[in-house]
Symmetry: C2
């Protein structure tokens, strides 16, 4: 519950996050010292330590930002679903855009995951974050099925895992072989029929809601 001159604070935090994003992109997680990040933000390490406990916490802040962006985009896309021929395909085509920022994030999170594998405490934190994000996605999937008048026959959590795996796997391949494969292609092509296969139409009468 801080009360004081809390006006400059969010500004400073934002500048650090911005600088971190750029620095991580150029030099990776290990290669980015706290000093360089702070300098890039036009601040000193003092400011950094006043805002974050360490570099890991900084990464997690970026993680949260990114997760929010993903959820927002998916959420909005589900909300704007039209009654097209293949609504699921339309959704992925809209929501799954792999731009430069997305590629950068993939590289960073991969590096961080490898780091976490060697540091159990960090791995715990990361897994918890992953879980929370997946939970959000499960909610969106549920809304999606409701929206298209179908009921999933498969476990939504595992479906969320698969969706993520396809997306990330495709991204990895397109990084290794740039130009050979559009990163969105696998998801857009294979997920719609899959979603169809793991769900069934709801009977006309029943569409009551339950949390």
């Amino acid at each position: 519950m801080p009360k004081g001159l809390t006006k400059r604070r969010p500004q400073t935090t934002a500048r650090l996050l911005e600088a971190a994003q750029e620095t991580f992109a150029e030099r990776g997680f290990y290669g980015s010292s706290i000093e360089v990040i702070s300098e890039r933000a036009g601040l000193t390490r003092g400011a950094f330590y006043s805002n974050f406990r360490n570099k890991e916490e900084l990464f997690f802040a970026l993680f949260d930002l990114h997760a929010q962006r993903v959820v927002d985009r998916l959420d909005q896309a589900v909300g704007e679903l039209d009654a097209s021929d293949d609504p699921v395909r339309a959704l992925f085509a809209r929501a799954v855009t792999v731009d430069a920022a997305e590629r950068r994030w993939y590289l960073l999170s991969t590096e961080f995951t490898l780091h976490a594998i060697r540091h159990p405490e960090t791995a715990r934190l990361l897994a918890e974050r992953d879980r929370a994000l997946r939970e959000q996605i499960v909610g969106i999937l549920a809304r999606l099925f409701a929206r298209i008048g179908r009921r999933p026959t498969a476990d939504l959590d595992s479906l969320a895992r698969l969706t993520t795996a396809v997306y990330e796997g495709s991204l990895a391949q397109s990084l290794v072989e740039p130009g050979e494969l559009a990163p969105e292609e696998l998801a857009v092509t294979y997920l719609p029929p899959l979603f169809d296969a793991v769900s069934e139409p709801v009977a006309p009468g029943e569409d009551a809601e339950q949390a």
Copy 2:
């Protein structure tokens, strides 16, 4: 062309490589200092710098060792191909074993690849190594097709790339979801029919060799 007491040399080199493997497995590439590796080998940094220029060169030495193992295993498996119902499947089932060492190597090489992405000079060296390995594999694939009396209709280099991609992609997934998916499964299941699809039988009369 060294002539002197070259008898202890290979011993020392081997001890350093062994220690590097263990240390990298426990602490990753970045996390392993040359000092720790040397100590683990029961030597000092002096010995290390007498045998390798730096940590990267050490990694590449491990790369060569691993590549040789892969090539040997594949090569031998092709040589011992029996006239079974599905020879390609039999080959992959034999040659593609994903043990703990293989998983460790995957983690290490992935970390190193990310490192290389940020260091163009290193990336060049890595790409060159990859190319050389792929060349070996192309040779093996050629022998394989000859052995089963078929002629490839697709570019062997791209087929080698795909094979590697399937293998590594599968490995990545099985690391993320241990127990859900046997790492060999995708390769064993999907590659045989694929190989069949990209080749045609040779006409009975013609089976002359050409380098």
